[in-house]
Amino acid sequence: MTDSQPTSARLRDAVGPYFGRFGGRFVPEALVAALDELDAAFGAAVVDPAFIAELDHLHRTYSGRPSILTEAPRFAKHAGGARILLKREDLNHTGSHKINNVLGQALLTRRMGKTRVIAETGAGQHGVATATAAALMDLECVIYMGEEDTRRQALNVARMRLLGAEVVPVTAGSRTLKDAINEAMRDWVTNVDTTHYLLGTVAGPHPFPTMVREFHRIIGEEAREQVLELTGRLPDVVTACVGGGSNAIGIFHAFLDDPEVELLGLEAGGDGVETGRHASSITGGVAGVLHGNRTFILQNEDGQTIESHSISAGLDYPGVGPEHAWLAESGRARYEPVTDTQAMEAFQLLCRTEGIIPAIESSHALAGALREGKRLGEGGIVLVNLSGRGDKDVDTAARWFGLVSAPDLVASEAERVVATDELKEEL
């Protein structure tokens, strides 16, 4: 692997495999050929007018791009009077930004002549998006999901199965997202001839961090133009939630070389970073190697991965994309934790002031916008990546706010569906 750091000073030209001292390829040798194949296929696709046109067509006629920009004036009253602008990735087909990446990678899968995709999922959003693209493009689809998460997100399990995907509950380790990634890697090593691993975030071995960012950078490119058109200038701050960091890198990318624009990533603070029960890999982690790349990870003194904690399953991951680690270390972007409580306050506020139910993940970015708005005051402009919608979180939110008595009907019905399927598998 050659170091292809750009000689130009433009941050947005960084293409990996290394972002500063982060990134790289810490993988079994068996996967290197597939990563090289993917890198070559991706490199050829992004300069192929036919590929670009096909992806663009899907964006416009399938996902619903460009996603709109919504000003949130009633919400902004709680943010020191600064203007709050929401980039509405929640309105995309399947309900989040995830569709941008899966359509790109599914097209690549076809180009490489592979017929099967596998993916990991935590909350189920990436799994649902992958199952959707697989159905659209006639690919066999297997989704690995920690057993713990299949219970927490039973409705999304049913959704993936409706779309024709096989959902495999992972019972190894902590039975959450990181273990689902391990299991997907094991599948990939075994079936790499026919199978593409459709990784869902800007982590993993090169070229995934670069490739996934390239498929999401459309978010920032659209938003930059939309903010300019609406306000006549660039925003003061851009906020986004960061788990692995795909939506954040997607919206940050267009602003990386605008030094007057502050970039703020909000990590899942869980019960508070000081409690040890959190998923803030940059704020509370240490540099190391996990899932194929060097980055900040939650690990103990021996290098064992520490389980992360967050009310938001989509941010509940003990690592972060290497480009974020680099942006943090270089100081170009700031990363701060938002606790479960702070995120849920922002969640409720957006529901009640703007009639928009955000994903709990995105509510971390909203909490960051409230903070930044108060700091900037009137005249300030904060752009928020509203990366997903909260339909999937209604059950969690209802329990959090005490709106239903547990076990509530929706969850128990979905759990019944999963239990029935598990029974079928056993039979």
Partner: protein
């Protein structure tokens, strides 16, 4: 010449492959795991591969995953593997640690090399480290005269086989199949093909692992490779025993059978 190289050369002189046995340290507990490793050596294992338990062992199948989980739950730590290496070396066999890279990274690459060399350990097998990312380890292993075992796989290009073999010292770990560790009913033809492809790129000994579990398979692999690496079969013997003492005996029985297996081979290589 390292201890690993000497042992492999001696086996070659006897016209057989060396037997390399894997066990993770700390399973089912530290003392039993070390006793089992020593028993392996007594029963004919030539080189011991000591697994360092890791929370995310993505190259391992269910048998080793479960053992490693249990060993972590019982409090196993990377420094325990160094203690085990010392015991194996005292029992008369070279000891290699098999470690996922983050454990070494966190321990400190230079510190690991120093501590392992001081304990009489022979080197490291690194399943998720490719030579391109191994600069610090190559330097530290050179400084301390430690072996460094990288893997080659059926998917490796000829260029990568040559590059990887050139970075190895001791032997090259030939992954017999595309997949993870585990017991398989047969050893794929891919193993022999890959050994021949790698042989064209290096004079280093070639040891075949992933999926070898029986004496018959050991005999088969012994016919075309310099070493046979067995893991899951030993772990399974330990895991299914009714007591630690019985587990140690079961490991020795498996080792003795495999040791006969490598000796029954008719080497065909030139």
């Amino acid at each position: 010449m390292s201890s690993v190289s000497s042992v492999l050369a001696a086996a070659r002189a006897e016209g057989r492959a060396a037997l390399i046995g894997y066990l993770p340290v700390g399973f089912p507990d530290h003392e039993t795991s070390v006793a089992a490793m020593v028993a392996m050596v007594g029963a004919g294992v030539d080189i011991v591969e000591i697994g360092v338990p890791y929370s995310d062992p993505l190259m391992d199948g269910p048998v080793i995953q479960h053992a490693v989980e249990a060993s972590l739950a019982a409090g196993a730590r990377p420094k325990d593997a160094i203690v085990a290496a010392e015991a194996v070396a005292q029992a008369g066999a070279p000891a290699l640690l098999m470690s996922y890279w983050n454990l070494v990274d966190r321990y400190g690459v230079a510190r690991m090399a120093t501590d392992l060399a001081n304990a009489g350990g022979a080197g490291l097998i690194t399943p998720d480290l490719i030579p391109e990312e191994a600069g610090e380890w190559i330097e530290a292993s050179d400084e301390h005269g430690l072996d460094r075992i990288f893997l080659v796989a059926p998917s490796s290009t000829d260029g990568r086989l040559a590059m990887t073999a050139a970075a190895c010292r001791g032997f090259v770990y030939v992954a017999s199949t595309m997949g993870v560790t585990g017991v398989r009913s047969s050893v794929n033809d891919a193993a022999e093909v890959l050994v021949h492809r790698t042989r064209a790129a290096t004079d280093l000994p070639l040891c075949v692992g992933l999926g070898v579990s029986t004496a018959e398979q050991a005999t088969q692999v012994s016919g075309f490779a310099d070493g046979v690496i067995v893991g899951s079969a030993f772990v399974r013997a330990l895991a299914s025993a009714s007591s630690p003492a019985e587990g140690v005996r079961a490991v020795a029985t498996v080792a003795a059978s495999l040791a006969e297996g490598v000796r029954a081979g008719q080497p065909t290589r030139s």
